[in-house]
């Protein structure tokens, strides 16, 4: 490149180097365990989910309703104190058909993560969740979906209180 330099440093290793024991290495597992506080806004969101309601928060200055709720409006930096119940229906903003897990194991039936714009929130404001009870080849952006909740007894105040979203039969 600096044209007089012909060789660049760095020594690539191959899988074979490991299999043949040519390389010494040190293996260890770092064991981190955490307990996260929900905070004020997400605490309210989770309490809402336990009651079968998706909560958003509203800034009356910016006239925006966001989801999940938060304590401060990131646009005007005023407090967002008004929590509003939203609908449990929405529109698929985007989706993926995912055939691998986080550790790169293969899946035969894809997981279908999606961003779902929640009815009652401002346009383009959604949450990430999963789609099920749908033919993967028929999922499309703009598809109308509805939350499938766990039963009231099973709900714990977690995002997984919504098991998944499924298509709404268009009438």
């Amino acid at each position: 490149m600096t044209e007089n330099i012909r060789s660049f440093p760095g020594t690539p290793l191959s899988e074979q180097d490991f299999e043949e024991g040519k390389i010494l290495f040190n293996y260890d597992e770092l064991n981190g365990k955490f307990s996260w506080d929900t905070g004020i806004a997400i605490g309210s969101y989770l309490a809402g989910l336990k009651n079968g309601v998706i909560l958003g928060s509203r800034c009356s200055t910016c006239r925006k309703t966001v989801v999940p709720p938060r304590t401060v409006c990131e646009w005007c930096f005023r407090p967002m104190q008004e929590y509003v119940p939203l609908h449990d229906t929405g529109t698929v903003n985007t989706f993926s058909l995912c055939y691998v897990t986080w550790d790169m194991k293969r899946l035969t039936d894809p997981q279908i993560p999606a961003v779902i714009e929640i009815d009652g929130a401002s346009p383009l404001h959604g949450i990430m969740h999963l789609l099920k009870e749908v033919d993967p080849q028929k999922v499309h952006i703009g598809m109308r979906v509805k939350a499938v909740w766990k039963s009231a007894e099973e709900r714990t105040g977690a995002i997984t209180d919504i098991q998944y979203f499924k298509p709404v039969k268009e009438v």
């Binding site: 760095g10 985007t94 058909l97 550790d103 383009l124």
Partner: protein
Amino acid sequence: MTMRKVAVIGAGMTKFVRRAQETPKELSWLATRMALESCELTLDDIEAVCMGTAPDSFDGIHMKGEYLSDGAGAWRKPYMRSYVGGGTGVFVPIQGWYHVASGMFDVVLVVAEEKMSNFYPHAQAAFLTIFDHTTERPLGPNLLWIFALEMNRYMTTYGISKEDIARVSVQHKRNAANHPCALLGDPDITVEDVLNSEVLAYPVQRYDVSPVSDGAVAIVLAAEHVAKRLTDKPVWVEGVGWNLDTAHWTNRDLVYPRYVEYAARMAYDMAGIKEPKKEIHIAEPYDPFDYKALHHLEGLQLAERGQAPQLYIDGTAARDGNMPVCPSGGLLGVGNPIAAAGLMKIAELFWQLRGEAGDRQVPGQPRRGIAQAWGDLMQVGTVVIMGR
């Protein structure tokens, strides 16, 4: 505010490899030594050191900046590590730039290093913690999701085909075949190869993605009076910009990277550039996925929204086109050791603008180039404009 002119006067890099025998410190030292030798300086000439590297969790080493410091030549010098996710590699030269532009230092070393192979068995797991621990991680996400979601939104909004996007991967990997440090250069790869590669998370397929890699890059920055004494081919940092969008990524339209636009406008203003499409001769947008190069070209105002694929179709983006894109081979071809990959783009502009890029040289004596990186939760844009 008066700012001093700052030049890049030297650059060095290691090969980008799947797994390096060298430790992170050793990689940093190899790149740093090469950068110093390229401008005939020694560590005694360096007044401060800026280090860019990704989260500590990649290496399983706490305070990685401090860990890397001897390899980066930082001891007994003003030293600071910066980190803005994938945007780090183009942010750390900005950090170096304001060290010099401010008048604080005359000669500053900028080093970026990443060793992703440490993470076992696969670095993907290191990315899981970018998702919100309470509202997202219980859904079992993986990193590919956000790229697949953004890519699908981009494609569907503008009616862009997978084939249009695959051309990016093909061109970058072909370009990388001429880069002596490249991990995935391939002069013969075709659009069909990309379209036939394994579907990981539709619309993302195997060859849409850059490889995790190990590597390091270093550059030397100098104030004008020093640069002119040391080289007759200084490459000036003409503009810098950086910007951050909301972390609530499901509350904004993924179709367009507004934060890249804001970062680019900041840099164009500083460089006095009014018409980027005419005044930028080489573009090195961040390309960890092929669609991201397109997305970023639009954010950089180098293509209209939804029109970036046209640059690859009509040859504008080719190495001998009107505005070559990623003549280095980019992250898709050279490799993606996160922070080092961004700084590789700065090194590429340095070599291209000096006419020293060897087999990769862009014809026509290019005068000005732009490098950009992107990161965090799809929310940070970092931009540097360089010219001679």
